[in-house]
C-alpha cells in the first residue's frame, strides 16, 4: 500500500477517471428528487418569497434614512444620507459577494502593487464599485424591468413544477372520506379507513426520509471507497465513535424524527393547517349524515368534536362524529391535535434553532475574542453580560415581546412573531453561554500552540477558528443543546401567558396551556402529548450534543455510550 505517494488529483479528475459509481449514486439522487419534486419546488418558492421580502426590507432602508434625515436636516442632507446608506449597504454586500462568489483576487489580476492591508481595501472598493454599477443599472435603466420579467417567469415555472404530484402528497394517499352505512369507505385511498390511510402516508413520509438518509450515507461510502485519496482520515474515527455511541444515536433518531415531522408537516397531519386551524369556516368536506352525503365546514364540525373532559371528548386514535380520524385526539376547540403539533413542531424548531444558533454564535465569537485578546475586551464583555444576567430574564423577554408587538414593529410580523422571539431569546441568552465557555476558552488560549501559531504569522481570526474553537465546540454543543430546551420551554411559557406566538399559529406551549385544566379528565391528551414531545425533543438534542462531543474528541476513545449518558450535565 503506497500511502505516502498519492497521485495528487482534484476530486473532479478522480471522478472523471472512474465515473461509474458516482453516476449510479447521482441517478439515485435524481429519482429521489423526482419523487418529491413538487414539494421541493414549493419549498423553493417559499424561500424565494422570503428572500424577496428580506431584500425589499433592506432596499427600503436608504429611503427611510433619507426621509428621516431630510425631515430634520433638509433635503440635501437627506440625499447625502441616502447615498451614504446605499454605499454602506453595498459595501457589506461586497464583502459577502467577494467571500461567496469571487475565489480569486481582482487586485492580483489587475496587477496592482501594494501591501497586503491596502490590497484588501482596494479589493473591497473595486467590488463595491461593481455593485454600485449593477445597482444603478437595475434601478435606472430598463435592465431592471427585464430582470423583473425574468424573475417572474422563473417563479411561474417553479410554481408549475410545484403543482406536480408527489409521493407523499395528501391527494395521492388521501385519508379524507366518509363511511357508508355498510361500513365501506368512500373517498379514501383504495377505500382504506382514514386511520390506515393516514398511517400509510406517515409511513411513506418516514420511509422516504430514511431512504434519503441511507442514500446520503451510501454517497459518503462511495466517496470513501472510490474517490478519496487517503484510506483513512480522522473523520472516519469520529463517525465510528458516533455510530457506537448509543445515547448519541438515540438523540440523532429523535432529532431526525422531529425534523421530518416539521419539514413534512402538511403531509403527516390528518388535515391541512389551512383548513383545520387557520380558516376552518372556509373549507368544507363531505361526510355521510342522516340524509346521505352532506357537506359541512371544518369549523362547524369542530364545534362538535371538542375535547373538554367528561363526555365531550375525542380521544387518542379515534373518529369524531363526521368521520374524521384524530390520531392524537382533538383540542378544546375541536381542532385536530396532531395537525396542531406537526405545524407547531415547525414553529418550535425554527424559533428554538434560530435562537440557539444565534446565541451560540455570539457566545462563541465573544469567548474566542475575549480569551485571545484578554484585558479591556474581556472586561467590557463581563460588564455587558453581567448587566444582562442581572435582569430577570423571563420578565425581560416578556417586556420586550409585548413592547414590539404593541408597537407593531415590522420585525414582530415576520413568522407571526417567531423571529422576534428568537432574537429576544438570543439577545438575553448569550451571556450565560458565554460565561459557560469563557473558562475553557481562557484555558486553551494559554496553550503554547497559540504562541506557535502567532510565531509563524497565523492571523488572529484563523488562530481562534483552528486552534481555539474546536476546544470549546464540545462545551458549546452541550450548553447550546441545554439552552435549546430552555428556549422551547420559554417560548411555550410565553404562549402559555398569551404573549408568545399568537393564535391561530400552532405552538406546543399553547396546547399545554389549553389542556392543563383537563389533565385529570378524559381529555388528558391535550396537555400531556405536547408535554411529552417537548421532553423528548429536549432530551434528544441533549443526547445528540453528547454524542457529537464524544465523537469529535479524539481522546475519548469509544466509550460505548456509557460515559455519554453520564455526561449530560456538561
Amino acid at each position: 500500500m503506497s500511502m505516502n505517494e498519492f497521485d495528487d488529483k482534484t476530486l473532479r479528475e478522480r471522478i472523471a477517471d472512474n465515473p461509474q459509481p458516482a453516476l449510479a449514486w447521482l441517478a439515485g439522487v435524481l429519482v429521489l428528487v423526482a419523487l418529491e419534486l413538487g414539494r421541493l419546488a414549493s419549498g423553493l418558492v417559499q424561500v424565494g418569497e422570503t428572500t424577496r421580502f428580506a431584500l425589499g426590507g433592506i432596499a427600503s432602508v436608504p429611503g427611510s434614512v433619507e426621509e428621516s434625515v431630510a425631515s430634520s436636516l433638509g433635503e440635501i442632507a437627506g440625499l447625502v444620507a441616502f447615498g451614504l446608506t446605499v454605499l454602506v449597504l453595498l459595501g457589506i454586500a461586497a464583502i459577502l459577494v467577494k467571500w461567496l462568489l469571487i475565489p480569486w483576487t481582482l487586485v492580483d489580476r489587475l496587477g496592482i502593487e501594494a501591501s497586503t492591508g491596502v490590497k484588501d481595501i482596494i479589493e473591497r472598493v473595486i467590488v463595491t464599485g461593481l455593485l454600485v454599477v449593477a445597482a444603478a443599472l437595475v434601478v435606472l435603466t430598463p435592465v431592471g424591468g427585464v430582470l423583473e420579467m425574468a424573475v417572474s417567469a422563473l417563479t411561474r415555472g417553479v410554481e408549475w413544477v410545484s403543482s406536480l404530484p408527489t409521493i407523499t402528497s395528501r391527494e395521492l394517499i388521501s385519508n379524507e372520506g366518509y363511511q357508508l352505512p355498510d361500513g365501506s369507505w368512500e373517498g379514501t385511498f383504495l377505500g382504506l379507513s382514514p386511520a390506515v390511510a393516514w398511517a400509510l402516508r406517515v409511513a411513506v413520509v418516514y420511509a422516504y426520509a430514511l431512504v434519503w438518509l441511507a442514500w446520503l450515507w451510501r454517497g459518503y461510502e462511495t466517496f470513501r471507497e472510490h474517490y478519496r485519496e487517503a484510506d483513512w482520515t480522522p473523520r472516519d474515527d469520529s463517525i465510528n465513535r458516533l455510530r457506537n455511541h448509543y445515547w448519541g444515536m438515540f438523540g440523532l433518531i429523535v432529532v431526525i424524527m422531529f425534523l421530518v415531522m416539521a419539514l413534512w408537516a402538511p403531509a403527516v397531519s390528518p388535515a391541512t393547517a389551512e383548513a383545520n386551524l387557520y380558516q376552518p369556516y372556509e373549507h368544507e368536506f363531505e361526510y355521510y349524515g342522516d340524509d346521505g352525503v352532506e357537506s359541512i365546514t371544518h369549523g362547524e364540525a369542530n364545534s362538535d368534536s371538542r375535547s373538554q373532559g367528561g363526555d365531550t371528548n375525542v380521544g387518542v386514535m379515534s373518529y369524531d362524529n363526521h368521520d374524521r380520524f384524530h390520531p392524537f385526539g382533538t383540542n378544546t376547540d375541536g381542532k385536530d391535535l396532531f395537525t396542531f403539533l406537526a405545524y407547531g413542531a415547525q414553529v418550535s424548531l425554527v424559533i428554538g434553532l434560530l435562537a440557539t444558533v444565534l446565541m451560540a454564535v455570539i457566545a462563541t465569537a465573544l469567548a474566542l475574542i475575549t480569551a485571545y485578546y484578554k484585558g479591556v475586551t474581556d472586561l467590557v464583555t463581563i460588564v455587558a453580560s453581567d448587566s444582562i444576567i442581572s435582569l430577570p430574564r423571563f420578565l425581560l423577554v416578556l417586556l420586550l415581546s409585548v413592547l414590539f408587538m404593541q408597537a407593531n414593529h415590522p420585525v414582530a410580523e415576520i413568522y407571526d412573531g417567531g423571529l422576534l422571539l428568537a432574537l429576544i431569546f438570543a439577545g438575553t441568552g448569550w451571556p450565560l453561554l458565554w460565561r459557560s465557555v469563557r473558562g475553557p476558552a481562557l484555558q486553551v488560549s494559554e496553550q503554547e500552540w497559540i504562541d506557535a501559531a502567532k510565531s509563524y504569522g497565523q492571523s488572529p481570526a484563523a488562530t481562534m477558528r483552528k486552534h481555539m474553537a474546536p476546544y470549546i465546540a464540545g462545551y458549546m454543543l452541550i450548553y447550546a443543546s441545554l439552552s435549546l430546551g430552555g428556549v422551547i420551554i420559554g417560548v411555550a411559557a410565553l404562549s402559555f401567558l398569551g404573549f408568545g406566538v399568537q393564535a391561530p399559529t400552532p405552538e406546543w406551549g399553547r396546547a399545554v396551556y389549553e389542556g392543563q385544566s383537563y389533565i385529570a379528565t378524559s381529555s388528558w391528551h391535550i396537555a400531556t402529548l405536547p408535554g411529552i414531545l417537548v421532553v423528548l425533543l429536549v432530551t434528544g438534542f441533549n443526547a445528540l450534543g453528547d454524542g457529537i462531543r464524544d465523537a469529535i474528541d479524539p481522546q475519548s476513545e469509544a466509550s460505548d455510550g456509557a460515559a455519554g449518558a453520564a455526561g449530560g450535565g456538561g
Binding site: 497586503t116 482520515t233 510565531s455 486552534h467 479524539p554
Partner: protein, 469 residues
C-alpha cells in the same frame, strides 16, 4: 536601574561591541527591554523581565542563554521572534529593526525566525493531525500548491526521524520525544535561518534528550541554522553551544565562548551558577558557592548592579574590609528583611494592631536583631550603626533605615558612590551607577561587574571568591 544610567551605559558599550564583531552578524540586539505592565487597570509598576540587554548572534552559531527560572531568558527569546513586543531598544535582524515591523511586513519576516517550544504536550494542537500541524505554516504563507505542501511536509517528517505515514496520526498517539520532533518539523517548514530553542529538551526523559539534541545539531549542519538555545541545564549548554550568555534579573551578566566561560568564569554570578553543577567524581574537591536569599523581584530591581543583593564578591567599603564573612551575611539579610517589610502592604488589621500598640504581624525590629545578631560578635562601631538603624526603622520607617545602612555598608555595587568627595564630578548623574560591560579576555568575552573596572583598583572576582570561601 534607571533609564538615564542605562542609556549612558548603552552608548558607552556600543562601540566596543561593534568593534569586536566583524564577522557575519545575523542578529544585533541593542539595549532591549521588555516590561510587562501591571495586572490592574491602571498599570502600576511594570515587571522588568528583560531590562536592557545587548548582544550579537553570529550566523550559523549556537548561542546559549542560561540563568535561573524567572530571570527573563524565555521572555528574551520570545521578544526576539516578536511573540512579545519590546518596550524599548532594538533588534536588528540582518540590518532591519524588527521591533518596528507590523502587519504584512512582520508576517513576511516571521518566516526567518521560528521557535521550538518547551512543552511538547502543549505546543501541538491535539485536534489536528500531524500533517495539518506541520503544514499550517505553509498554508499561512501560501507556499506553492497544496500538493507540493503535502510532499514537503512528508519529507520533513522523514528529516526529523519520523515516518511519512505519521501524516494522518494525532499528537496524542506519540511520545514526548516524538512530539518534540513534530514541533521541530513545524519550525523547519518555512526554512527559517534563525530558531529560538526554548528549553527544547527539559520536558523530556534523559534518554530522549540526547537524541533530540543530536537531531538539532544535525539539522543545524544540514540547513545552516542559527540557534538561540535557552536552557537551565548547564551540561547540555556546554555540549551544544558555541557561545553562552548568562542572565540574571533581566540582564546579561557575562557572555563569551562556551569553553572559556565554563573553564574560567569572570563574573561572580557565573561563578556561583557553575559551582551548582553537580560533580560526578565524589573525590573531587569543590567549593560550592551558596547564594543567600532569593532573587529580588523584577518589579523592583536593586539599584546599581542587579546581582548586588546576593553577590558573594561584592565590593565592601574599605573601612569594614576586616569584618567577618558571617556578619556580612547577617547584614545582607537584615537589609533584605527591611526591603521586604517596606514592600509588604500593611493590611487594615495590621494598622489597627499598630494603633492599639500590639505587635505587628512582621515582628518588631528587636526580634529581627535578636535572630540575626545574637550569636555573632558584633564590633562596637557596627553595633552603633545597627542601633541607629533600629531607631530609624521604628520612627521613620524602613526606607530611612535602609538609607542609613546603605550609606555605611554599601558600595559602588549597590549604586553608592565609592568616594563621597568625588561626588561633584557626577553631579549631572543623580542616579546610581550601574556596572559596565568589560571585555575580560582576548576572545571578546564580556562581563557585567564593577570589579573589572580598570580605572578602579578592585580585586578580580575569582580572587575575592577564593579569599572569602
Amino acid at each position: 536601574m534607571s533609564q538615564n544610567a542605562m542609556e549612558a551605559n548603552a552608548t558607552e558599550t556600543e562601540p566596543q561591541v561593534g568593534s569586536s564583531q566583524d564577522d557575519d552578524v545575523m542578529v544585533e540586539v541593542r539595549d532591549l527591554r521588555t516590561y510587562y505592565e501591571g495586572e490592574g487597570l491602571f498599570g502600576g509598576t511594570p515587571v522588568k523581565a528583560v531590562d536592557g540587554v545587548s548582544f550579537d548572534i553570529k550566523r550559523g552559531e549556537t548561542l546559549g542563554l542560561v540563568g535561573e527560572s524567572g530571570c527573563g531568558k524565555s521572555t528574551l527569546g520570545r521578544t526576539l521572534i516578536q511573540l512579545e513586543s519590546a518596550t524599548g531598544g532594538e533588534i536588528r535582524f540582518d540590518g532591519t529593526d524588527i521591533t518596528t515591523l507590523s502587519g504584512a511586513e512582520l508576517k513576511k519576516w516571521r518566516r526567518n525566525a521560528q521557535m521550538v517550544f518547551q512543552d511538547p504536550d502543549s505546543s501541538l494542537n491535539d485536534r489536528m493531525t500531524i500533517g495539518e500541524i506541520v503544514r499550517e505554516p505553509l498554508d499561512v504563507h501560501d507556499w506553492k500548491t497544496p500538493r507540493e505542501r503535502r510532499q514537503h511536509v512528508k519529507e520533513l517528517l522523514d528529516t526529523v526521524g519520523l515516518q511519512r505515514e505519521h501524516y494522518y496520526r494525532y499528537p496524542h498517539q506519540f511520545s514526548g520525544g516524538q512530539r518534540q520532533r513534530i514541533g521541530i518539523a513545524r519550525t523547519l517548514t518555512l526554512e527559517p535561518e534563525f530558531i529560538v530553542l526554548d528549553e527544547p529538551v527539559s520536558a523530556l526523559d534523559v534518554s530522549v534528550q540526547a537524541e533530540v539534541i543530536n537531531l538539532l545539531e544535525d539539522l543545524q549542519e544540514e540547513f545552516g541554522l542559527t540557534y538561540l538555545f535557552i536552557a537551565h541545564d548547564l551540561s547540555v549548554v556546554r555540549h551544544i553551544c558555541d557561545r553562552v550568555a548568562v542572565m540574571y534579573l533581566g540582564n546579561i551578566m557575562e557572555i563569551g565562548p562556551t569553553e572559556e566561560l565554563f573553564a574560567n568564569p569572570a563574573n561572580p554570578y557565573t561563578h556561583s551558577l557553575l559551582s551548582a553543577i553537580p560533580e560526578p567524581d565524589p573525590s573531587a574537591h569543590k567549593d560550592r558557592i551558596t547564594l543567600h536569599g532569593t532573587p529580588p523581584s523584577p518589579r523592583f530591581p536593586p539599584d546599581g548592579c542587579p546581582f548586588s543583593t546576593r553577590c558573594p564578591a561584592r565590593i565592601r567599603p574599605p573601612e569594614y574590609e576586616e569584618l567577618d564573612n558571617e556578619l556580612w551575611v547577617q547584614l545582607d539579610t537584615l537589609r533584605e528583611v527591611l526591603r521586604e517589610r517596606d514592600r509588604a502592604e500593611k493590611s487594615v488589621t495590621d494598622r489597627i494592631r499598630e494603633l492599639l500598640g500590639k505587635e505587628p504581624r512582621f515582628g518588631t525590629i528587636e526580634e529581627i536583631y535578636g535572630e540575626l545578631f545574637d550569636e555573632h560578635d558584633v564590633p562596637a562601631d557596627v553595633q552603633e550603626i545597627l542601633d541607629e538603624t533600629a531607631d530609624l526603622a521604628r520612627d521613620e520607617g524602613e526606607i530611612a533605615a535602609l538609607d542609613r545602612l546603605g550609606e555605611e555598608f554599601g558600595s559602588v555595587c549597590e549604586g553608592y558612590d565609592p568616594d563621597p568627595d568625588t561626588g561633584a564630578e557626577n553631579e549631572d548623574e543623580d542616579d546610581p551607577v550601574a556596572p559596565e560591560y568589560y571585555t575580560v579576555s582576548p576572545s571578546g568575552r564580556r562581563s557585567f561587574c564593577h570589579r573589572h573596572d580598570p580605572n578602579a583598583e578592585y580585586a578580580e572576582p575569582d580572587q575575592v571568591l577564593d579569599e572569602r570561601h
